[in-house]
């Protein structure tokens, strides 16, 4: 069975380490904040200028001056700090954020990512995604493995305009966890109940299948 949104978020959260500063993109990446293991402290960075983002506010706590990068009202945790957008992207570009998690339309086995623009469709903009993929060393892309029509999104070469070049080393899909090394996808884990063959048939880019591909623990 392909992973649900919640299971994807759970698997993302397994990449967290105590003391990590983490930037979570809009959508499934944001859900990972709900699965930070007990006893572990992770500080969430929101690129509009907040380090130490907390949960959504109670009705009476709502403050128009406190939002996240998705423009949702949020709260701050103890130890939070506030800064300008220039400072925020200095910490992103400067490689100070330990882990970045974001979505994509396509990735390829050269580590390229396309996530912001489909030619012919409405262009809304890249927001902070280009800075995030260029600045972070430790990035996880979270996406569906294939389109609704069964077309692979893990490609030999991205077809859509790129968000970043050669910057992705780890991809989590609803079917598998893969690393990108030496121009190939390396299958690391498979979703519970999903076979290696199914994954291989929906991976268009070159795929290396190690002898042992454990099932994800979600």
């Amino acid at each position: 069975m392909a992973l649900t949104r919640e299971q994807l978020a759970q698997r993302v959260a397994q990449e967290f380490q105590d003391g990590y500063y983490v930037n979570l993109g809009i959508g499934i990446p944001t859900l990972a904040a709900n699965y930070i293991p007990d006893g572990m402290q992770v500080m969430l960075q929101s690129e509009n200028g907040l380090l130490g983002m907390g949960p959504f506010p109670l009705e009476e706590e709502v403050d128009a001056d406190l939002i996240n990068a998705g423009k949702q009202t949020v709260t701050m945790v103890k130890g939070a700090s506030i800064f300008s957008s220039a400072e925020s992207f200095a910490m992103i570009r400067g490689g100070h954020v330990d882990l970045t998690v974001l979505g994509a339309f396509e990735v390829d086995c050269q580590g390229n990512i396309a996530s912001y623009m489909i030619p012919g469709k409405l262009i809304k903009g890249m927001g902070g995604a280009m800075d995030l993929v260029a600045g972070a060393d430790n990035i996880i892309v979270v996406m569906t493995h294939a389109s609704k029509h069964g077309e692979s999104k893990l490609l030999p070469e991205c077809t859509l305009p790129l968000t970043g070049k050669g910057c992705i080393k780890r991809v989590l899909t609803d079917m598998a966890l893969l690393d990108i090394e030496g121009g190939k996808f390396i299958l690391r884990e498979r979703a519970p109940g999903v076979s290696v063959e199914e994954i291989a048939s929906l991976t268009a880019g070159e795929l290396v299948i190690p002898d042992s591909v454990p099932e994800m623990q979600v």
Binding site: I67, M117, A134
Partner: protein, 233 residues
């Protein structure tokens, strides 16, 4: 003191000198920390042909979105322009030119513009449509593109509190692009929720010194929320 007193008497005075085809650098992120009354004054004046650098373009009926109603904006330099039907319509029809700029690059372009740095190299956008036509240099085995600073004829911004000298304190994530936007404008106009007397602000707590601010005005704010999200107790 009078030479350092930045407070102006009206919004009309605050935007005095704004002419057609000028460039404005604006603070705000979504509808958070936007100079909403200064934007309304620009609408009232009917100035057209404007180039505006701002992370977003407001929403329908809010923020910079209201300047689209009378087609006052010629070009928008922004990182994200969703959630605005009028914007989309004008962009698709070609009436509105859009230069999509990565968010961190936009912030740094404004910072550079205010700091006397004409251009800088960044890895952001290398190998993407953003990098097309831009100079590429390699440093320590990595590729970087040359991005040029942004400066405006005016900058418009919102802060929380100021003293009459224009020393500013921002509040929570309403800070966002405001400090850099202010530094990047030849005439920097800032509206705030409260103006206090000189000496009442702790110098150690000031986020942006008044040297960058030319005009200051106290306003009242709607502070609309784009995505009100709450949890239940």
């Amino acid at each position: 003191m009078s030479g350092f007193d930045k407070v102006v008497g009206s919004y009309e005075e605050a935007m005095d000198g704004l002419e057609d085809n000028m460039t404005i650098v604006a603070g705000g992120f979504g509808l958070c920390g936007i100079p909403e009354n200064l934007i309304k004054e620009i609408k009232r004046r009917g100035t057209t042909g404007l180039t505006i650098a701002s992370n977003n373009a407001g929403t329908d009926g809010n923020g910079l979105g209201i300047l689209l109603e009378d087609k006052q904006i010629k070009k928008m330099i922004a990182s994200y322009v969703g959630e605005n039907a009028l914007f989309e319509a004008q962009m698709m029809s070609g009436e509105l030119e859009v230069e999509l700029t990565p968010q961190g690059t936009l912030a740094e372009k404004m910072r550079a513009g205010g700091a006397g740095i004409p251009a800088f190299f960044t890895a952001t956008g290398y190998g993407t449509p953003v990098g097309e036509g831009k100079e590429v240099r390699e440093f320590n085995g990595r590729h970087y593109i040359l991005e040029e600073a942004i400066q405006g004829d005016f900058s418009i911004a919102k802060a929380w509190k100021a003293d009459r000298m224009g020393n500013l304190i921002f509040r929570m994530t309403a800070r966002n692009f405001n400090p850099m936007a202010i530094t990047a404008g030849k005439i920097a106009v800032v509206e705030v929720e409260e103006i206090v007397e000189v000496g009442e602000l702790d110098p150690d707590q000031i986020h942006l010194p008044g040297i960058y601010v030319n005009r200051l005005i106290q306003g009242t704010f709607e502070k609309n929320i784009e995505k009100r999200t709450v949890r239940s107790a």
